[in-house]
């Protein structure tokens, strides 16, 4: 069933994006554009997030109570919406981070032998 596979893939991406947003907000409140830029910058431009897809993710996190939104002014003195990590979000970040670590480790273990083989000669 192609639709189900698609959904799983999207969920994986969404989950990852959620994690990245939470991680970014750990440094302090930021507005949407700044979050997008930070993710790009911190991943050394490896992760090319379509900037628009940030917004559904932000609103989802607000709904779950992991971040909150407040009105503020941006650097160039414009009115902008700031997103801030909540205490619950901080906890969630730790959980997600552990989960991610395990997942990444597991995948790495699976992939490693192949890499070793290739690097032998």
């Amino acid at each position: 069933m192609s639709t189900r596979e698609e959904r799983e893939r999207i969920e994986l991406l969404q989950g990852t994006l959620d994690l990245l947003i939470l991680r970014t907000l750990l440094f302090g409140p930021a507005h949407g554009h700044a979050i997008a830029k930070a993710i790009e910058r911190n991943s050394q431009n490896v992760l090319q997030v379509e900037q628009g897809s940030l917004y559904p993710a932000l609103h989802r996190l607000i709904r779950r109570g992991w971040i909150s939104a407040e009105a503020g002014t941006s650097e160039n003195n414009r009115r902008a919406k700031y997103y801030r990590l909540t205490a619950q979000g901080r906890k969630q970040l730790n959980i997600e981070r552990t989960k991610w670590g395990k997942l990444a480790g597991a995948i790495a273990r699976i992939l490693r032998p192949a890499e070793q083989q290739r690097s032998e000669p």
């Binding site: 507005h31 949407g32 554009h33 700044a34 997008a36 830029k37 379509e50 900037q51 628009g52 897809s53 917004y55 559904p56 609103h59 989802r60 709904r63 941006s74 160039n76 414009r78 902008a80 919406k81």
Partner: protein, 902 residues
């Protein structure tokens, strides 16, 4: 709502801010402003999609989309008003017909009796597998059981918590003379055991119900039905305690039954109930036993209907076994039958939760057939609407391609299109419900053949649920194929298509779908048209058959003087007086009387025994007999073949005589002369009860328009000793209905307390006997015509559409030298191919369906070749008409115009 608007504005602002910030960044990186803005937008992605995704996170999406879809749907439907109206109307007809038939099915077949725990009730009945010497006689064969057996059963039984006995007071719906404050009228009543109301669990609305004490102490009381109370007494509660005369006996009204309680037989609502009592005046079935005898003591005569309420924990099978033992005991004990003879009787216990099934028996099969017919009509309407929507979807290809290109998902578009279909279906369903309320009432009138059937048509939850379900199903059915089909397109080529769409292949998958829809319509229509043909021809065959008597110009009515105290010689003298008085009326040609009028459905039946035992080996032949007055055969114009008819000289004191019909004479006497021979009713010949045959008449139908003419005997009413209520036949010179007032006056002049019942002409009586056939012929023709019209619209639409799409192809053909007639033939040929494919698919279906209704046909076979070929011919003719206009348009295409079309 306000909050939602604010949140949406904030989101817009956020996105604008974001893009602005990105633009500034890009400018800072050295891009020219124009390019910077463009790059920022590209980096952001599809803003509309982002907004939609965010709104989905907010969770209003579902409702919002529905609102959008509905608004958008309304706009598109309003843009093509003619199409929408045609669609809604054809759906309304289809859905309405289904609801109408369903509400009748609900009233007749599904509704539970309005009593306590109806599922515990069972109705007892018995039938015999062969004639048995010394077996019981019946009033109401198959439903009636023994009264003496009933008495034993209610004294002692292990399986029923209550045993209820009941019996109508006459065969006719209104057979009891009621006298309220000196005004005679007729009403229908039932005689019931004292536990009737308590056993069924029906309380009285006013006053009290009947009780066991009423039966034991013969209190002469009555409970009125709510309907009768309303009609006769204007719902006056003070009526309790009032005394009225029922069948000549004063009875005190003690209560009124609740409005929803119509007795135990849907469609036959008694006006009053009296306790079972062996008294003159009111007798079961209006049967007048010979002097000095009583139905209540005659163990040989069975006349009581019995219902039982199962004790908790007793299975129907246990009850049946117990009742079988009871039946054997009754047969061997009360009637003195031998064990093997008693084996010929079978007891049946039927669930009575929905009441007695006379109405169900009569109408359940017709209603199921009609349900099938209207189901087909709805299918045709669906196919038709699907075809129309498909054609429109084709016109909307561009719109759909644009929306797909803008990022709408296919599922989203299918949903949008389905919403539109469901809106159409809902509109059709609403209009259809309005149609149905009116249609069901018309149907009820048609079904009852003018007389009113006391059936309540409630608009209940079941019907609403049915209407909603049918509408929704319809919407999905006709909406799914077009919406799936029309969203399966490749965006690029479609967008590049020219407005006319002429570059499209004319044989793509959607076109195939359209064609199969037309073929399906033709197939279903064939089913309905052949059905209509078969039913119409059945009706014609029945109406134009030789009945053996002349029904025209005869008026009929019944009287029941036994309830006014007439019996024996006084009764016969009264009938003579009435007959003389009527014969003397101006405008009367001849008049006579008989126990049963022809085609009333009522008969006496018995085996006969012939003197000298000259019977053929088949002893089980049943003879139908009628008690008739002088001149009956002449009045009904049943032709005399041999000897004489029954006349004035045949009186109570003269020798007993009989006239028989040809079939009877042939069966019992072969080529011998039947005149002068004698027979008796019963299994053995008894010289002192013998009737001498004095005449033979031509075969004439008696009780039934269908089937063979029965073996029939006519005997003088004065000689049978069984004289009870009689019916008069009056042949008039002019319009028989004009004579009715003077007939009433004549009867009143003889005895002012006599009421006339069942006043109608013989032709009306035949019409009533043919109600079902007329109903079928009428409805099948109506729906068949409707189906033809729908199929024609479908074919016309499809052909117009293809011709339009193929304009340039046709132009090229003509430019290359094709003649107009060739193009005309080509298009018509295509339409014909479709019809023939449809007919080929429909023919086996129609043959199978015709076999299902074979029992409803008369005078022709279910596979009647004439009907079938006529139906196919009719379809081809209609198809030619429907396809001719598009074909002519195609043949008039100007090649130059067509080629420049793109």
């Amino acid at each position: 709502m306000k909050r939602r608007k604010r949140m949406l504005e904030e989101l817009d602002q956020d996105i604008l801010d974001h893009i602005e910030a990105e633009t500034q960044d890009n400018i800072a990186r050295g891009m020219p402003p124009e390019e910077a803005r463009y790059a920022a937008r590209r980096a952001f992605g599809n803003t509309a999609l982002v907004k939609e995704d965010v709104r989905e996170v907010w969770g209003w999406q579902w409702l919002e989309r529905l609102g959008q879809d509905l608004r958008y749907g309304l706009r598109t439907l309003a843009k093509a008003p003619a199409l929408s109206v045609v669609v809604v109307l054809s759906l309304a007809l289809g859905i309405g017909a289904n609801i109408a038939i369903f509400s009748l099915i609900d009233a007749v077949m599904l509704r539970m009796l309005p009593v306590k725990d109806p599922q515990q009730l069972v109705l007892l009945s018995s039938h015999q597998t062969k004639p048995v010497h010394g077996g019981p006689g019946y009033s109401g064969y198959g439903i009636s059981l023994s009264y003496s057996g009933f008495e034993r059963l209610r004294r002692q039984n292990e399986v029923f918590s209550s045993v209820i006995g009941f019996v109508p007071l006459g065969f006719d719906p209104e057979s009891v003379t009621v006298n309220i404050d000196g005004q005679p009228s007729l009403a229908g009543g039932e005689m019931v055991s004292g536990n009737y109301f308590a056993g069924l669990g029906v309380p009285a609305l006013v006053g009290r119900p009947l009780t066991n004490e009423d039966e034991e102490r013969v209190t002469r009381v009555t409970v009125l039905s709510y309907g009768y109370w309303t009609r006769q007494f204007g719902r006056d509660p003070a009526v309790v305690g009032k005394t009225i005369t029922l069948g000549g006996q004063p009875h005190t009204i003690v209560g009124v039954a609740p409005p929803e309680f119509f007795g135990v037989e849907p469609g036959r609502a008694p006006d009053f109930w009296v306790p079972l009592a062996d008294e003159p005046g009111l007798t079961p079935w209006s049967v007048q036993p010979p002097k000095g005898q009583s139905l209540f003591t005659d163990k040989q005569w069975w006349w009581l209907m019995i219902m039982g309420r199962l004790k908790p924990g007793v299975s129907p099978e246990q009850a049946r076994a117990a009742m079988e033992v009871w039946l054997r005991q009754t047969l061997t004990g009360d009637l003195g039958l031998s064990q093997p003879d008693a084996q010929a009787f079978v007891i049946k216990l039927e669930p009575a939760s929905r009441g007695l099934d006379s109405l169900r028996g009569e109408f359940s099969q017709p209603l199921m057939i009609l349900m099938g017919v209207v189901g087909l009509v709805l299918l045709i309407a669906c196919a038709n609407v699907a075809g129309l929507l498909l054609a429109r979807a084709q016109a909307r290809r561009k719109e759909i391609a644009v929306r797909l290109a803008l990022g709408a998902s296919r599922a989203r578009l299918v949903r949008q299109l389905l919403t539109e279909s469901l809106m159409l279906a809902a509109a059709g369903g609403l209009c259809g419900t309005a149609f149905a309320g009116w249609g069901a009432r018309v149907l009820l009138i048609l079904m009852s053949g003018g007389a009113s059937l006391p059936l309540e048509l409630h608009f209940n939850l079941k019907i609403v649920a049915f209407a909603a379900a049918v509408s929704m199903l319809t919407g999905v059915l006709f909406g799914l194929a077009p919406s799936l089909g029309s969203t399966r397109l490749s965006v690029g080529p479609t967008l590049k298509e020219s407005a006319s769409g002429a570059s499209q292949r004319p044989h793509g998958p959607r076109w195939r779908l359209g064609k199969s829809l037309v073929a399906a319509q033709v197939a279903f229509t064939l089913l309905l048209v052949t059905g209509a043909g078969l039913f119409v021809r059945t009706l014609i065959n029945l109406e134009h058959q030789d009945l053996g008597f002349d029904p025209h110009g005869v008026v009929l009515f019944g009287v029941n003087p036994t309830q006014n105290g007439y019996d024996g010689p006084r009764l016969i003298a009264l009938y003579d007086r009435l007959l003389q008085r009527i014969q003397a009326l101006p405008g009367v040609r001849t008049a006579s009387l008989s126990a049963y009028t022809l085609m009333s459905g009522w008969v006496n039946s018995a085996p006969i025994a012939v003197e000298g035992g000259q019977t053929k080996p088949d002893q089980n032949a049943i003879v139908l007999w009628n008690l008739v007055g002088p001149d009956f055969l002449n009045t009904m114009r049943i032709r005399l073949l041999l000897g004489r008819g029954i006349g004035e000289q045949d009186t109570a004191t003269s020798p007993r005589v009989a006239v028989v019909n040809q079939s009877l004479a042939r069966k019992y006497f072969g080529n011998l002369d039947p005149l002068g021979r004698s027979f008796t009713f019963g299994n053995t010949f008894k010289a002192d009860e013998a009737y001498e045959i004095v005449g033979v008449v031509k075969d004439a139908k008696f009780d039934n328009m269908r089937g063979e003419v029965p073996l029939t005997a006519y005997v003088p009413f004065s000689q049978s000793g069984l004289t009870g209520p009689m019916h008069f036949e009056v042949r008039t010179a002019g319009d028989p209905t004009l004579l009715i007032p003077s007939l009433r006056r004549a009867v009143r002049e003889v005895d002012s307390n006599l009421a006339l019942s069942e006043v109608k002409t013989q032709s009306q009586q035949i019409d009533e006997a043919l109600v079902q056939e007329k109903l079928f012929a009428l409805l099948a023709s109506f729906f068949g015509g409707l189906a033809l019209a729908l199929a024609a619209i479908g074919l016309y639409g499809t052909m117009t559409y293809t011709v339009g799409r193929r304009t340039s192809e046709i132009g090229i053909r003509m430019a290359l030298g094709a003649k107009q007639s060739q193009i005309l033939r080509m298009v018509l040929g295509e339409a014909f191919t479709l019809v023939l494919i449809g007919a080929a698919l429909g023919l086996p279906l129609a043959l199978a369906a015709a076999r299902l209704v074979a029992s409803k046909l008369y005078g022709l076979k279910a596979s009647d070749p004439l009907t079938f070929s006529a139906a196919i011919g009719l379809q081809l003719a209609v198809a030619t008409l429907a396809a001719y206009l598009p074909a002519r348009r195609a043949s008039r295409v100007d090649p130059m115009v067509a080629l420049r079309f793109e």
